[in-house]
Point group: C2
Chain length 296, copies 2
């Protein structure tokens, strides 16, 4: 059992995961302001957008424009699902790119429209096309703690094998995602331990969704394993449109409050975070009304 941390890095994914499943769409300016506000509240790494096809996730169709408005930001992450997304992302200020695959074969096909092997080949091509020192590549594994499809069983050794491939190809960090909030503390520990054994010198992150408040238990399991980077979203927004019954992300405010109560620093101002959440939820409600009016 590793030492309990004194500092944990909270990666806020609101602008990407938090917005991708909302019926209300923020304006580009609102998205830019959201990211600036998160930075001002002390969030050191922010997943700002996804370079996914607007055909699949129209909410993030303005990825380039959002990043163009944030030239001063050096802490932005963008998600890329394939080579095409990578090429779009390279032209922006995003300095970290999350390449995503899935531990669930069916979610892999539904969400990424190609097999795991094809995804890994994409990732290899991306690594080869990356000039050294320009961007940091992260490998994310969706459904690492449970599949939304009942017939599928996720196995720690298979998640570890995927992590090993990602790191072998060039991932500098691996993010393990509980895409559908099915993680249980002991299974989280087993998966993390298997991945740590497979890629011992690669830093890990945990991307959490929260079902019935169990995510805190998974956070505790991860901290006991020495994982000190956790991804969450304001207001518990978020969810993958291609993962049935996915609950929202773990709420960033809950997470930060827990850390502070546990004597773990985050560098984040909880009160400012509350104001950001409040404004965001107001804007989303307005956006929903606006779009409702457009449709009628």
């Amino acid at each position: 059992m590793t030492e309990w941390p004194t500092f944990v890095e909270v990666v806020d994914v609101t602008p990407r995961d938090g917005l991708q499943d909302e019926t209300g769409e923020l304006t580009t300016e609102e998205k830019i302001q959201l990211i600036r506000d998160l930075r001002a509240a002390g969030v050191r790494r922010i997943e700002a957008t996804s370079f996914v096809s607007p055909k699949w996730i129209p909410q993030l169709r303005d990825a380039e424009q959002v990043l163009a408005g944030l030239a001063e930001c050096d802490n932005l992450i963008a998600l890329v699902p394939n080579v095409r997304g990578f090429e779009r992302a390279l032209a922006t200020v995003a300095r970290e790119l999350t390449f995503v695959v899935s531990a669930s074969p069916r979610h892999q096909m539904d969400n990424l429209h190609m097999s795991l092997d094809a995804s890994l080949a994409n990732f290899q091509a991306i690594v080869q096309a990356t000039e050294a020192g320009t961007v940091r590549l992260r490998g994310a594994i969706s459904c690492a703690f449970g599949s939304p499809f009942h017939e599928e069983m996720i196995r720690p050794d298979e998640v570890a094998a995927i992590a090993k491939s990602l790191v072998h190809h060039g991932a500098a960090e691996v993010s393990l995602a509980d895409t559908v909030g099915l993680g249980k503390p002991d299974f989280v520990r087993r998966v993390i331990t298997a991945v740590q054994d497979a890629v011992p010198s690669t830093p890990l992150a945990l991307h959490l969704h929260d079902r019935y408040g169990l995510a805190l238990g998974n956070v505790v399991a991860a901290l006991f394993c020495g994982v000190t980077t956790i991804e969450s979203a304001l207001g518990g927004l978020g969810g993958c449109p291609y993962a049935p019954d996915a609950p929202g992300n773990l709420n960033t405010e809950d997470l930060v409050r827990w850390f502070h109560l546990m004597g773990i620093e985050t560098g984040i101002d909880l009160e400012m975070l509350g104001s950001v959440r409040k404004r965001l939820l107001g804007q989303l409600a307005q956006a929903e009304t606006r779009q409702g009016e457009l449709r009628t």
Copy 2:
């Protein structure tokens, strides 16, 4: 790290801890019914009452009468703070007696009106007066994870030393209580580990109060340490009148729901438990009104 359990024993302490700090007082018949209902819902061990002086906790003044109405129950625990309480308890159906001391010197004096050494001498006298095979003696350590008094610091080695004394004198089980809900997962793990090192063959229980939802984190820490007996109360009632700012107990329904979600069995019917809680809260509200009328 021990194996994750497949079964956890939930000890419900509602009739004792849950009622001792309420302004509304249930009737003796309501208390008896509450305990029968908890049994019917599948709770295998229930802390039924406390043989404390009615001068300090009038809500439990009918301890003898409550137990007299439960002759058929073989799973009842009663709390005893001293030799006098033990003598009262011996004459009842309670087959397990929890003798309580505190890891906080000030809480020890405020709650038990004697020093730790005097308490341990009381416990020794109790053990000597106990006929073999009649009752099982449990040792409980209040404030094991934090003191309500800012000037006091709880140390794992000191809690372990108290546990060792209790077991040395004859405790068959040690219950570690987070009386004021100050436990944090890593400290819980450190205290439990220290106690396990001191009394390796004694089963441990964890008595939890919940501040801001952190208790789940403490449960997870305890499970990772191999502790599989957790104490909680319906509706999150409870709190020690002699521990300033003590939050309610961990809610038994939350706890059972979490266990079931984590694939851990409890033998408890969650739906029945919900009905018991609903009726109890209704009765407490009525009792409060009744007593308000008596006072005016």
